[in-house]
């Protein structure tokens, strides 16, 4: 009995060995490459597990959660005014824009409306945070492609915007300026003129990047036709913001979903690009920054006078109910689903952040590309880790 099974075993081993001898020249072994959680191209702690054949990606999986801070749960033990301090830190580069949809949702539940001046200032600060956020992307994209210099220009020129945000709100990164029913303060003296000067500088920055980066042949060779996302695929993955507009979808919540802010009162344009590749995503964002600077100019010109705070009770208790408000944030659609039970604190807050959906397309779009293109595609999708993990 044992002899037979041993003989079988030996025969099996011999067969395996002969198979191996035949296959040894034909089979190449794949390699699993861990990009991240500590990797310069992942803007923090995103981890991409890429299965490679040579330098070609067979499968790529984004693994997130290394920076999960539990904001949805934390909001349940914070009063409504305190929540803005938390949500500021979701997309840390455009933090004022994170506060707005939450405040709007709370206002909708309380049936309060901020006075027009507050709405216009909110819109202006919203656009300033968009400029601060995306101008850094414009430099960073070039940095990911190996050009060091534009990143420094981006940091330099973003500072003009951050200075304006700071002088209005007191915080460079985390303004915490939006209040239920209005704003914390009115604008300081001379702010409007200073901001307009800064906007001129930012337009110069956009012009410079257009010649320095988009006009560069190597940049075009690295980004054109790379990471193409067709419109229907992008929509089915829930992409939003510039990522979907770069695929030719004319969809901008600022125009399509009025939430009371001043976007519909001014004259501006939604930029789209038909290609859907990395270049298109860069190009659309570049145009958006320039458009935003023009929007800020118009908002400051047409700023209505009046109070900046509606009448709200000193202790804010939000009546029971549910509200969903989403806005077009720098990274895409960001929304809050707020459930209130008439308490000092929200019963439940669901945060829909843009980057989480934007990186969900990573396995689809990275399939079949080369290792260097992983970096350009990830950079062009533009996510912020705080916005993915929350």
């Amino acid at each position: 009995m044992t002899a037979i099974s041993e003989r079988r075993q030996l025969a099996y081993i011999a067969a395996q060995a002969s198979d191996a001898r035949v296959n040894v020249e034909l089979e190449t072994e794949g390699m699993t490459l861990n990009m991240g959680p500590q990797h310069p191209a992942t803007h923090g702690t995103l981890r991409i597990v890429a299965k490679l054949d040579g330098e070609q990606v067979i499968a790529a999986d984004p693994i997130m959660g290394y920076m999960h801070r539990g904001y949805e749960k934390l909001t349940e033990v914070r009063t409504y005014p305190q929540v803005t301090t938390l949500v500021n830190r979701i997309d840390w580069l455009g933090s004022f824009a994170n506060e707005v949809p939450f405040i709007l949702a709370a206002e909708r539940l309380m049936e309060v409306e901020a006075p027009p001046r507050a709405q216009w200032i909110r819109t202006a600060l919203f656009e300033l945070s968009r400029i601060a956020n995306i101008s850094l992307f414009l430099g960073d994209m070039a940095l990911q492609l190996g050009a060091l210099t534009p990143a420094f220009y981006a940091f330099r020129d973003r500072e003009f915007v951050l200075n304006q945000i700071e002088s209005a709100t007191g915080g460079r990164f985390h303004p915490n300026f939006d209040r239920i029913g209005g704003l914390k303060d009115d604008l300081p003296k001379g702010w409007i003129a200073e901001t307009k000067t800064a906007m001129v500088k930012l337009r110069d920055f956009c012009d410079m990047l257009e010649t320095l980066v988009t006009g560069n042949e190597i940049f075009e060779a690295r980004t054109r036709g790379i990471g193409v996302i067709p419109a229907e695929v992008g929509l089915s993955y829930g992409l939003s913001g510039a990522n979907i507009r770069a695929s030719g979808v004319d969809w901008d919540l600022r125009r399509d979903q009025p939430v009371g802010l001043a976007w519909n009162e001014i004259d501006w344009k939604v930029w789209t690009h038909p290609d859907g590749d990395s270049f298109a995503r860069f190009w659309v964002r570049l145009q958006e920054v320039r458009e935003s600077t023009k929007m800020v100019d118009q908002l400051l010109d047409g700023l209505p006078s009046g109070p900046i705070m509606a009448k709200v009770p000193r202790i804010i208790k939000v009546p029971a109910g549910e509200a969903w408000v989403s806005t077009e944030n720098p990274l895409g659609e960001m929304g809050y689903y707020v459930v209130s039970q008439g308490d000092l604190v929200p019963f439940r807050v669901k945060i829909r952040s843009a980057s989480f959906n934007n990186v969900s397309i990573v396995p689809w779009v990275l399939k079949g590309v080369y290792v260097p293109d992983i970096v350009t595609i990830l950079a062009s999708l533009y996510f912020i880790l705080g916005d993915i993990d929350r």
């Binding site: 310069p40 492609l145 190996g146 060091l148 190597i218 690295r222 290792v371 260097p372 970096v375």
Partner: protein, 348 residues
């Protein structure tokens, strides 16, 4: 033409004394050159281009910053990855540095100031410079790191691809000069004439501008500098073959990188810009032993300026794109250049 055996300086030294001096000079020159290029271009010029100040505190204008950095590197722990092939890992930076040093031996900076005036100087200089590929492959393989491996393989592929245009670009110069000897090439440029006027000789950049163009692109690729820095691509394979190196071994790679930049700039100066010869002097004038190094230094810094200017300005090519550039554009172009040069040489 200078006979290398008969210098203009009448100093008699024993062979071992001479060799010792040469080795000492080259060994001192490589780190000095690397420090100069690193300070002037990597620290200061890049900072000014990027609206920064660069180092300001270490010494006047931050001049000692790289010395301080070097001292810091020396204090670092010498880490071997657990699964590294230890001997190969340790040898790799030395192989790269030795390849750099060997180029220095061959570059002349004066009628007598040359490590070894070899008759096949150009050929040997380009040959020894490509030894560094072996060191880089050793580093990439022995680190037992996937990023290193990818970087090492990319470096090998790229350096082999750009070795060809580098050599072929020089062939035009060799045809014109009629010699492979670097001193001979300098002399040929010094005695040349531009349409009958011999005031500044005839630097080969005027006739071999295509060759110069290709040579500089290939040098950029050999140095793995942007736009050809795919093998080290910080933003994606985080330094490639250098990933696992720390302290002194990393410093060796750094010295080799910048030392090689200096050496290639020197080769470009000798081959295309007239070398150490100063207009108005006889080719074997002893004064050129004093002025030659100064002229060479100025020319080297000018060429290096362009090398680093491109480095700080451009994004990088993808691996397949830079291979396509080498094989489909540069090599046919340099072959055409050789044909045209050869035909013109025969005709005139």
């Amino acid at each position: 033409m200078i006979d290398p055996a008969l210098g203009t300086l009448a100093i008699e030294l024993a062979y071992w004394q001479e060799t010792l001096i040469k080795v000492g000079v080259v060994a001192a020159l490589v780190p000095t050159a690397a420090l100069i290029l690193g300070y002037v271009f990597l620290l200061k010029m890049m900072s000014f281009m990027q609206s920064r100040l660069g180092p300001m505190d270490a010494g006047p204008f931050g001049i000692l910053q790289l010395v301080a950095d070097g001292a810091k590197f020396l204090q670092k722990e010498d880490i071997f990855p657990a699964r590294a092939d230890k001997w190969v890992f340790a040898m790799a930076p030395i192989v790269v540095l030795v390849s750099t040093m060997l180029v220095y031996v061959l570059i002349p900076v004066g009628p007598d100031l040359v490590g070894e005036a070899v008759d096949t100087g150009v050929f040997l200089a380009l040959a020894v410079s490509s030894i560094s590929v072996i060191g880089i492959l050793m580093a990439g393989w022995s680190s037992a790191n996937k990023y290193s491996l990818i970087g090492g393989m990319r470096a090998a592929g790229q350096l082999i691809a750009y070795e060809l245009p580098l050599v072929l670009a020089v062939v035009g110069v060799v045809i014109q000069a009629g010699t492979l000897n670097l001193q001979g090439i300098v002399a040929a440029q010094a005695t040349g004439e531009i349409f009958g006027w011999g005031g500044i000789g005839s630097p080969f950049i005027l006739t071999q501008f295509v060759g110069f163009f290709i040579f500089m692109i290939a040098v950029q690729a050999e140095l793995t500098q942007t736009p050809f820095d795919m093998p080290v691509a910080e933003s994606e394979i985080v330094g490639g073959y250098q990933v696992e190196y720390t302290g002194f071994r990393f410093l060796t790679f750094f010295l080799a990188e910048f030392g090689t930049a200096f050496a290639f700039a020197g080769l470009a100066a000798v081959l295309f810009l007239g070398g150490w010869w100063v207009p108005g002097f006889e080719i074997d004038s002893p004064w050129l032993n004093v002025l030659g190094p100064i002229v060479m230094f100025i020319k080297i810094m000018a060429v290096s300026f362009f090398i680093f200017w491109f480095r700080f300005t451009y994004p990088r090519f993808r691996e397949d794109q830079l291979q396509a550039l080498a094989w489909k554009v540069l090599i046919p172009l340099s072959l055409a250049n050789i044909v045209v040069t050869g035909v013109l040489k025969v005709v005139f």
